[in-house]
Amino acid sequence: MTAAALWREPLAQAAVWSLATILLYLLAKRLHRRWPRWWLMPLAVAPALLMIAALALNVSYRDYIRGTHWLVALLGPATVAFAVPIYEQRALIRRRWPLLLAGMVAGSLTAVATSWALAYVLGIDGELRLSLLPRSISTPFAMEISGEIGGSPDLTAVFVVLTGIIGAAVGDIVLARLPLRSTLAKGALFGVGAHGAGTARAHQIGREEGAIAGLVMVLVGLMNVALAPLIVQFMR
């Protein structure tokens, strides 16, 4: 079999793209550890390099994701993993849940209001604007809501990941500027603002921050699934 024929085999493609994704992620992680700049974040560098490779080889997203979908599927078991830090911080959460709830409600309202207002100002409308609204919620919830309010779940998934990348970077800057006293506020900021990617970043800052970010991310998702129909009523 020639190399070209081998390249057309779906299994070979899956192996090559999976391996490339993992290796580039590891490389990006090393780079970031060596030079900890926000624009060298693994979640920005690895996709950028992969995108260049895909464009150069004229590979479509469908071809790429067919072989790497199993990596995205691991987000399911990774979500289950949040049970551990949440359980370990249960005393803190039991004592402080009213504060977290207040932050979640205020943050969600800000997310929807600023997204809608900025889209209006910038002249982004229709399906695109609706796809931008559920951006601050973690992907599975966001896609659910996007479809429900008339957005495109596919586009929303992209915006959610972009929000995570940008949020993890912006979070560090916000953290450095705001005079925050409680780890509660630091965790909630990442959980509400930048969901999964932000929570991963919060875990790197501290165990308590990570646990709170994970809990808040899940609760904000649940809250917004419940509130989405109500919000849409106001936005129409």
Binding site: Y25, L75, G103, A185, H203
Partner: protein
């Protein structure tokens, strides 16, 4: 299923082996998916699995140690699982122009606002409750 009913050796394996623990996480996720499908709950399987695991921890049916190593590894490497999703951008070339810049700006401004409002709300409430706690302690 109580913890005592599992043979000691299996318990030990579960306590030490990261891969076995990741398998356990996967089992919870699969159970969550199955539950979502059969009950029609509009929740992702991972979330249901997480709630199941939490309930078992709280009820004492499962020890945290039998999941901790696997969970810590998964949480540390979670960013990897987001990488392939970003490549969906390949299908949306329209986002590479001015429109993309607008969306980029929108996300930066909106996310910064969300983070500031959330953190300040929590922190201000925190300071209130702290002051109440200390004043009641003095009184």
């Amino acid at each position: 299923m109580t913890h005592r009913s599992i043979p000691i050796q299996l318990q030990r394996l579960l306590r030490r082996n990261r891969l076995v623990q990741i398998g356990l996480l996967g089992a919870f996720w699969a159970a969550g998916e199955a539950l979502a499908r059969t009950t029609g709950l509009p929740l992702p399987g991972g979330i249901i699995g997480m709630v199941l695991a939490l309930v078992l921890f709280l009820a004492g049916g499962l020890k945290v140690a039998s999941m901790k190593r696997g969970a810590n590894w998964m949480l540390a490497e979670m960013l990897l699982f987001f990488v392939p999703a970003v490549l969906a951008l390949l299908d949306h070339r329209e986002l590479f122009g001015l429109l993309g810049l607008k969306i980029f700006a929108l996300i930066i401004v909106s996310t910064t606002a969300v983070m500031c409002v959330t953190a300040l709300t929590v922190d201000i409430c925190y300071r209130w409750t702290e002051r109440d706690d200390s004043s009641s302690a003095v009184a």
